[in-house]
Amino acid sequence: MGVIYILWLRQLKRHFRSKARLIGSLGQPLLFLFALGFGLGPVFQQAGRGNYIQFLVPGVIAMTILFTGVFSGIEIIWDKRFGFLKETLVAPISRFQIMIGKTLGGATVAMIQGLIVLGISSLIGFKIENPSLLPLMFLFMFLIALLFTAFGTAIASVLEDMRGFQLIMNFLVMPLFFLSGALFPLEGLPKVIVIISKINPLSYGVDALRAVAVNGSYFGLFNDFLVLSVITFLLLIIGSYLFSKIQI
């Protein structure tokens, strides 16, 4: 337990000491929130879909968690490059413990960033319809955080250096975000996009957050939970396996 705790604590300390990263990882969600939220709001309203901010905020929270989570996982590449991973890998602890500690740390960081965005959103008029469901919302936020941090860890175990990072961002993380229903409703879309969004785990996360915060689920809350937990579980197993294969 102490081992997992100290690994977790290290992730948090690193995150909060790097002010640039703390603020940097908020820049993009806030831009989406303000530019799209206010820019597309009137069109959304005219189309009879209601308040766009209410619709958009769960998507932007999910996005924040996605980006911070993947990035926290991918941080292992830095540890590889700057030697710190060696220090951890020669210790008499199992690689599974290391992977779990780091992933929980990264997920916590991602969750906190998500909470900050939630806080800022409520300042610009976002309302949770039923505040008693807030714990459920936190649960889903953490599940999304865990899923994508484990995803990042798995990727980082395979990548050798940061050069692959752009590739991952542009061809995996960005599509995951844009094709998840975070920005637009999934109803009435071309079939291809619907199919893609159905195999995209983030869609279920966005859907769950939206269902809990403002009602109206597309997949059904239980399905969301099922899909997210099964994929998180699988990614943790795959991540642990890939992590255990790292040789320096």
Binding site: G2, V3, Y5, I6, L7, R10, K13, R14, R17, S18, K80, F82, G83, F84, K86, E87, T88, L89, V90, A91, P92, I93, S94, E160, D161, Q247, I248
Partner: protein, 273 residues
């Protein structure tokens, strides 16, 4: 003074047999065998790229051997990696500190992952940080430290769990003579008082000659000479270890050893063609 120091020639604490590591077609370590006895100070010498670091990585469970066996403190490193890992401490060639953490936090982290009990941990951290003269800087982030300070901190950290064997991969590289002397004094003391076996590599032949009780010289992945400094000198009829070393390994200059990551990349590139 020498109460803890007994070199037991019947009791090897590191046993290496037919150890081989291949990276693709490149044989970095080629069927080497040697033993290090309990309580010994053992130097592992060789030119750049000879296979020193690769061997240390295999001994310390970071790299899997292609073939051969390694016993650390009696434990096979493949079958019982945790038992082997608890038995040694290591100071790596390249820095391996988290520079976003303070000196104290780096020590704490190490203490926890090596399961040093909390009570012993804080007093030992204090003692070690004082020894390397970093106690006053304990709450500073490591990123503000000089290379010498980082190295001192790493040595203190490697000793924190009082291992049976201490691996030192060029521990005094880039340090001034004062710090070097200071560090070796402490290491020699640890060896005497606590009976910790020391396995080190260095390019400073005078250090090896002064400190090592036994030496192995590796070149092109093979061990080409083994023995006490005196034996190596008399074998080559030279006056210093440096001379003996140059006779064993020749005078040609070697390329720097590529890291395994770089080698992997080269291999991947080659397979793409």
């Amino acid at each position: 003074m020498d109460k803890g120091k007994i070199v037991d020639n019947n009791c090897p604490i590191i046993e290496v047999e037919n150890l081989t590591k291949k990276f693709g077609d490149f044989i970095a370590v080629d069927h080497i065998s040697f033993s290090v006895f309990k309580g010994e100070i053992f130097a592992f010498l060789g030119p750049n790229g000879a296979g020193k670091t690769t061997t240390i990585k295999m001994l310390t469970t970071l790299l899997k051997p292609s073939s051969g066996t390694i016993l650390i403190n009696g434990y096979d490193v493949i079958k019982y990696p945790h038992k082997a890992r608890s038995s040694f401490g290591i100071v790596f060639q390249d820095p391996s500190l988290d520079d976003q953490l303070t000196a104290l936090e780096n020590m704490e982290y190490h203490g926890v992952i090596y399961k040093v009990p909390k009570k012993i941990r804080s007093s030992r951290i204090k003692q070690l940080l004082k020894f390397v003269e970093l106690w006053d800087r304990r709450n500073d982030l490591v990123k503000y430290f000089s290379a010498g300070m980082k190295r001192r901190l790493e040595i203190a950290r490697g000793l924190l769990h009082h291992p049976k064997i201490l691996f030192l991969d060029e521990p005094t590289l880039g340090l001034d003579p004062q710090t070097r002397t200071h560090i070796w004094d402490y290491i020699r003391n640890l060896n005497k008082e606590e009976g910790i076996t020391i396995f080190f590599t260095t390019h400073y032949m005078d250090e090896a000659e002064k400190l090592a009780e036994r030496i192995a010289i590796i070149d092109h992945g093979r061990i080409i000479a083994q023995g006490t400094p005196e034996e190596l000198k008399s074998k080559t009829q030279s006056n210093s270890l440096e001379e003996a070393f140059l006779i064993f390994c020749g005078r040609e200059i070697r390329d720097q050893e590529a890291t395994s990551i770089e080698r992997m990349r080269l291999r991947r590139r080659a397979s793409r063609k």
